[in-house]
Amino acid sequence: MASKRAVTVLRPAVDGLGPRLLRINCAQKTVNTTRTISSQASRPRKLAQQQPQQVRYASSGAEKEQVSRTALYELHSKYGAKFVPFGGYSMPVQYSDLSIVDSHHWTRENASLFDVGHMVQHHFTGPGAEAFLERITPTSITSLPEHQSTLSTLLHPGSGGIIDDTVITRLPGKFYVVTNAGCREKDTAYFKEQLEAWKSEHSDQPVEWKILDGQGLIALQGPKSAEALARILDDKTKGDLKSLYFGQCVFATVNGTDAEVLVSRAGYTGEDGFEISIPPHATEAVTQFLLDLAKDELRFAGLGARDTLRLEAGMCLYGHDLDDTTTPVEAALSWIIGKDRRAKGGFHGDSVILQQLKKKSEGGGVSRRRIGLIVEGSPAREGAKIVNEAGEEIGNITSGCPSPTLKKNISMGYIKDGMHKAGTEVEVVVRGKKRKAVVTKMPFVPSKYHKQPTTAKA
């Protein structure tokens, strides 16, 4: 009974038994975790900083799992974070000063700071790095300019299913790659195996791979992000921020420190913003500096707001909206497949993916596609079925929540090809009842990226 009690507050609803990060049972775990934390936090600070990872909790069900902490763990505690286990880390889901909805609005109106240090940061170097990345992703890496990032996917050989989604950046002399925390083990095994195979076939083009252990990563998101960030940067970079456009990045120095950080104009909310990669020793100090100097416009935000923001922005969460059996074409991510890659292929799963890109009349297409839905009445969450007029199942929901911005229920899911056009009326079954839903273009909330003006092309 006790263990059952620890994982349910109210019983999770019938439609949506999937492992969602924000179930009420997570909130309950939060209580447990927070308690463990307070005893940990009373330890001398230095100790915790020296050993920020692999802290083991005695909470129920976690006996075998090791839960890690990011470099900002103590700072989160100080700001009233409620923690939940996520991707092998104990991560803030929200903070005591703002509810999830308030934090969501705060991000769209001001600026929020997210700790994304649980994500895995990699460097790929060596003469074979470019060709290696072109083999495991459908991205046109050769045409990726220096200091430019792009969304991509790691692909299964043969099937073209998505191992993980990732952001790849070309830096001078290397590639900087960020992957999901939840896929850490799977990705590591994949990279090892793929590099092994590469080595045996291309011994003349070596690739070196390094995981940036302990490297901090924070995301600054919202219309006031640039203003907040400018306060901590050296004068030169401060001036450059205006011409740092979405998808670009720059190395910068934080005022009064020797910490060199990588500032990428990117994000997971649809707002203007930055992701900042910080050396391990400086992560906490830089973050605190930022919070102190941007007190009026900047607040910490947790996984709760991050999930509702990314859903409004129509962005995928791996393990929910993407998985090993889904190809980029099915996932409505065909845009990540480079022009030259469509012509020549040469990446994992290319025969499957290139065939899917062809017209139906040429035997191409896919049987299901990722779409957005606006659902009447009750929110439709992961696991809910999409049905047609006759009540036949034609798809399923992979993510869903009430949209704080739109005040409507938004969902993401997969639907039978042909039913995927915007405006198509379908029904979604929640708790045994059919609810009206309309296929809707994503993003649900228009993105506000700081984009390079198209007229300034010449």
């Binding site: 109210l10 019938v14 949506g16 929540c401 009430p402």
Partner: protein, 170 residues
């Protein structure tokens, strides 16, 4: 925080509940209630409020025929901003342990379980239009349903004190 919101709620009910009370037999009952300091309900003399391990509360009418059901303050707080409440239908027959409705917040969806069998006689339909009300007064004005019952609840129920200890213990 918790203490403050409880006080505020009691105060609010003092003001509004009295005004809304139906005219006949008001005085006597109101007084009887005031003496017993039962400020958290709109109906007359009631038996003690009981709580389930799934964070619902029930309150039996004095004659033991009507059971009012809602979700606890602890649950409402844990759920966060509630955006949708699915209410049972009136005249629906329910059995102990049935999910009779659901509460949807930005975070999660949770079933409302009944700890007692019976027939749904009345639902708080105001919650359909103003689901957020449940965050304000889950154990008072924002009750979920009234169920006509014929027996006592069979499962484990807790008193306020036991439930508070249970939630602190969880």
């Amino acid at each position: 925080m918790a203490a403050r919101s409880t006080v505020a709620r009691a105060a609010r009910q003092l003001t509004f509940a009295a005004a809304r009370r139906p005219a006949p037999f008001v005085c006597q009952k109101w007084q009887a209630q005031a003496q017993k300091q039962r400020l958290f309900s709109v109906s007359g003399a009631l038996k003690e409020k009981k709580y389930t391990e799934d964070h619902e509360w029930i309150e039996m009418s004095s004659d033991g025929k009507i059971c009012t059901l809602g979700i606890s303050e602890y649950a409402a707080k844990a759920l966060g901003d509630v955006v949708y409440i699915e209410l049972p239908q009136t005249d629906m027959e329910v059995s102990e342990g049935d999910a009779i409705g659901a509460v949807e917040s930005v975070k999660s969806a949770s079933d409302i379980l009944t700890p007692i069998s019976g027939t749904v006689k009345e639902v708080n339909s105001e919650l359909e239009n103003k689901p957020a009300n449940i965050n304000k007064d889950p154990e008072g004005d924002s009750w979920i349903a009234k169920i006509a019952v014929e027996g006592e609840p069979a499962g484990k129920l807790m008193s306020k004190e036991e439930y508070t200890a249970f939630t602190e213990d969880a």
